[in-house]
Amino acid sequence: MKKPYQKPTIVKLQIGTLREQKSALAQRVRFEIDGVPVKDLLQKFGSPLFVFSEKRLREQFRYAKRLFETHYPRVEFSWSYKTNYLDAICRIFHQEGATAEVVSEFEYEKARRLGVPGEKIIFNGPYKPRTILKKAVEEGARIHVDSMDEILDLEEIAKELERKISIGIRLNLDTGIYPRWDRFGFNLESGEALQVVQRIAAGGQLEIVGLHCHQGTFILEPAAYGRAAEKLLGFAQKLEEAFGWTIEYLDLGGGFPSRNRLKGLYLPPEVAVPPLSEYAESIAKALLSNLNSRDYPLLILESGRALVDEAGFLITTVQAVKRLPDGRRAYVLDAGVNLLFTAFWYHFRVDLGEEVLGPPEPSVLYGPLCMNIDVVEEAVNLPPLSRGVPLVLSPVGAYNVTQWMQFITYRPRVILITEKGEAEVIREAETLEDLVRLERVPAHLR
């Protein structure tokens, strides 16, 4: 019986790294995802491969929903399509009771195609083309207006339909966080929002029934949500008194973080990212302590990342091993920033898909693109890897399968591990035919 093999390695000892070498950061190996071996997945579906876990999706959704419901009686989760709009993923969240939050014509149509009725769609976004806006109004969608021009469009539509339209308005406000997203909706503190509301009331065609804000993304300060809730509620009460409307819902948008490691954050996510319960508590406290004696307005949350990120994995394979001129070890993978758009902002967790023996060494992970920016990870401690070794990157469930780009290569399969532990394809790998289908060649070039 032969001995297990380690690649021969030589490491130069440097004062300062001696201790690190000894402590040998525990090697992280992920042999399986939800009980399905990584090796089997690669063999059956090829590399690279996106893998989603139905179990994790459902568990995280139920956890978040129940968590907020234990803090506040009326909560609606609206699935943020832009975070991941694969049919199968959306269907899972809709089955769990989420409505749809869409920001474009395409997303609106996708939600309708999935059978989501208009009244269960929230239509956000800074640009809603006139035709889809009218369709959304007719179908009873909750429209959140972003600009004065959109208000004018809606007033015209109201005239055409000869009825009053109920809308939500989008506000931007100071909740003490930086950067402050102030390009969406109307500013609260400057008085712009109130002016716009007065204008809407004067127009007589529209009625405000909801207030919306979205502070930003990956917000690590739960208290900011409390401040946002308090401000929205205060404004709602002002509108009810002044105009006699009933503000049925307050929508605090999304921006809740996942356990991903944001670049520039020194601490690991387990320490830096506050638990979701702190957000729930902060929001509920602001609402419950400031509500007048009236019905509880519905609290809507458009959480995307916090629900889906940690349910997504990317399996990729080492395709080449290199040494850089400065001595660093580098690997070329079959997946790069083309598939992992979020690599620009996050340090993923990198697990080995099989056990590899040998001393860890800081290594660079490159993708397959012939572009200098195609770096998946600048420095990750890995044992000496050979060609063919699988790596499992996570969490990658949010934004990657929507923001990925088709550049010089095909996008790979996406699979779902069902609750029964079966692997099902939920998006096929692209083929040449798929990519050239929309191209046309003028006669003189044929």
Binding site: K2, K3, Y5, K7, P8, V11, K12, Q21, P384
Partner: protein, 80 residues
């Protein structure tokens, strides 16, 4: 040959008296280093590794060559 000047311990600790640098090698690294010092060629070393460990000769040869690259980078090996 530069390799001859190195002090190599049985545990894989390497000291270069000329530069004062020290290195560590793993079990297979130590074998390769000793074999190189004994004048064996990369393919002979790869065959020896393959006999003792779970590894094919071509894969072992590729790794020995990578190891040689590391030695060159540390200026412990010069092409003769």
């Amino acid at each position: 040959m530069k390799l001859n000047r190195l002090a190599i311990s049985e545990e894989g600790f390497i000291f270069d008296p000329e530069t004062g640098n020290s290195y560590t090698v793993n079990e297979t690294g130590l074998k390769v280093l000793k074999a190189l010092r004994a004048g064996q060629s990369p393919s002979e070393i790869a065959e020896a590794l393959s006999e003792e460990f779970e590894i094919s000769v071509p894969e072992a040869l590729r790794d020995v060559e990578e190891f040689l690259e590391s030695l060159k980078r540390f200026r412990l090996w010069e092409e003769s």
